[in-house]
Amino acid sequence: MRFAAIIFALAVSASAAIAQPFPQPLPPGAYPPGAYPPGAPPAAPVVPLSVLQADLKAQSGSDTVRFQRESYVLDATSQQVLARQAQWLLARPWIRANIEGHADGRLTRDYALALGERRAAAVRNFLLAQGVSPGQLNVVSWGRERPTSAQLHDATWLQNSRVVTVLKQAPQQQFGPQPLPQPDLPNYR
């Protein structure tokens, strides 16, 4: 009964997105991510996705990599950014991410969808090669449907030819151990 009450209180606080005090750091290796410790689940805070996304951007340099027109080749800069993104994701295996591919508005609609997927797949394969778990990544193509600029001009194509790593928290991890906003907490490595 008390257990249920705690769950309920947690659910209420989670849905209201009220910041909770951070829990005491758990001893390293106390339990693997995703597994509940014996007894009641820890009163972990729900870190808003926007905070996580900002952290990914800060740590990796960017959440976005760009491409040449009609290309899906990752250049050296993109590879550096993605390698850091991979480190970030490896450190937080309970977090899932959409790999969202985009193409510019001067390509026909179907081809833009295909190219967006091709770019996103190139990024996903790079992240997998860095050791990121396939279950963490989900490929999405937006084609030319979400340009970054309201301008309709040929000069904007480079900004639109991009792949963005968009974080999604795994829903079943809601009450499990959560990543803290401070980076590189040793007990989570």
Binding site: T108, R109, L113, A114, E117, L152
Partner: protein, 435 residues
């Protein structure tokens, strides 16, 4: 005497033609039609107004339909005489030969006891002085417009030889919101923009509606759940389902001519290929397997062949293959990208989007790739679909307003005409004609 008059007129016209040869060549071949107001035996108040007014509106509608095809010239209404309902079936030819028209449209509209209307229409050849088509319809008073469309369809078919399309529907994507946060809704309307309806409410981005051959269902692309995938929905009902299991990225749907299967593109691990899927979504049959992008597939009217685009050569080009995927063969070889092909209802032509730096244009070619011809010269014209055997609908984006609109263009040439839609629109599709 009337013959003499006609000859004088012809002599004058011929002189005119020789003076302005370039302007006259196209007009010379166009039939000229006289469409006087349609009379009523007794002016009766109906649900849709007075029958006398409806008669004028019917003549307006037939004129508007025939004009929109670009295949006719219409004699100005104010130069024409009135006629009585009894004359509709037996015109006094001498009243019309002086108008310069080659054809005459007559008819009548009569209120019935049950509140409905009888709409009759006739088409005459004024040179041979004989009736060449007639139609009669009994319709609810507020459906007089459909009767007028059907009359225009019949006349168009009789004179041009191609199936009429005025009593047809257009599906498209209505676009509001901003470019960075667009709101897209599936919409459907009659050819002349009446009976406009939204099928989705804009919460989810939707693309590429394709009406089934019977017009009862729409295949389209939806981003519901995050990733683009093909869905099938009823036009009038509530059923709306994903065609393939969740998690597959699929797009570019097109119906088979029998309406039992859907061509689509599936993107898996960076490779987009064309598949043929039954309406139950089971056992997709893979038709292409080259690395790279194979997409935008469209059936030939007999269902035996498929045209599609592929970048296997390094750039988007148009290819054809048999409906089982065999015999793939490139047919476009111009110095440009070729995309989004659509096979014509007559089977002999393929419409396409041609991409050159800074420009997208609509063109047609023979189904073996010959006789390539560009139809438009916009900044971004794309997504062609056929509306009958001679008309192509497409999407044009205006670089200043950044809005897209739907246009029609004749494959014989001429300026594209904008279709009326309540908002900016994209991705047009056409339902097929009345017969």
């Amino acid at each position: 005497m009337p013959d003499l008059k006609a000859k004088t007129l012809c002599a004058l016209a011929c002189a005119f033609l020789t003076i302005l040869p370039t302007a006259a060549v196209a007009q010379d071949t166009l039939p000229v039609i006289a469409i006087p107001p349609v009379p009523t035996p007794r002016n009766v108040e109906t649900d849709a107004g007075q029958t006398g007014v409806i008669g004028i509106q019917i003549a307006d509608q037939i004129e508007s339909d025939l004009r929109s095809s670009g295949d006719f010239m219409v004699v100005p209404r104010n130069t024409l005489k009135q006629y009585s309902p009894t004359e509709a079936g037996a015109p006094l030819y001498q009243n019309w030969t002086g108008t310069g028209a080659s054809n005459l449209v007559t008819g009548y509209v009569q209120a019935r006891e049950d509140g409905r209307l009888t709409v009759a229409c006739y088409l005459y050849d004024l040179k041979q002085r004989r009736e060449i088509a007639r139609k009669g319809y009994v319709v609810a008073a507020n459906e007089w417009r459909r009767a007028a469309h059907r009359c225009a369809d019949a006349f168009y078919e009789r004179i041009s030889g191609a199936a009429g399309f005025f009593d047809s529907t257009v599906a498209y994507v209505a676009e509001t919101g901003t470019r960075v946060a667009p709101v897209k809704r599936l919409a459907i309307m009659n050819w002349d923009a009446t009976d406009h309806r939204y099928l989705t409410q804009g919460g989810t981005t939707v693309l590429s509606p394709r009406l089934s051959p019977d017009g009862e269902r729409i295949a389209y692309v939806s981003f519901s759940g995050g990733a683009p995938h093909v869905r099938i929905r009823d036009v009038d009902g509530n059923e709306d389902r994903a065609l393939l299991p969740q998690g597959t990225i699929s797009f570019a749907p097109r119906w088979s001519p029998d309406g039992r299967r859907v061509l689509l593109s599936m993107a898996v691990d960076g490779n987009t290929d064309i598949y043929l899927v039954g309406l139950d979504g089971n056992y997709p049959q893979r038709l292409t397997s080259t690395p790279g992008v194979d997409t935008a597939a469209s059936f030939s009217p007999d269902g035996s062949r498929i045209v599609f685009e592929s970048d296997r050569s390094g750039r988007q080009q148009v290819y054809v293959m048999n409906s089982n995927g065999s015999g793939q063969q490139r047919i476009s070889f111009g110095a440009a990208g070729y995309a989004s092909p659509a096979w014509s209802p007559s089977g002999d032509r393929i419409a396409f989007t041609r991409a050159t730096p800074g420009k997208l244009q609509i063109g047609v070619m023979r189904s073996d790739g010959g006789e390539e011809k560009l139809l438009t010269d916009g900044w971004q014209d794309e997504a062609p679909v056929w509306a009958g055997g001679r008309t192509v609908l497409f999407q044009r984006t205006d670089p200043q307003s950044t809005h897209a609109a739907i246009y029609s263009v004749q494959i014989t040439g001429g300026q594209p005409k904008r279709l009326t839609t309540p908002q900016p629109g994209s991705d047009p599709d056409w339902s097929g004609g009345s017969e």
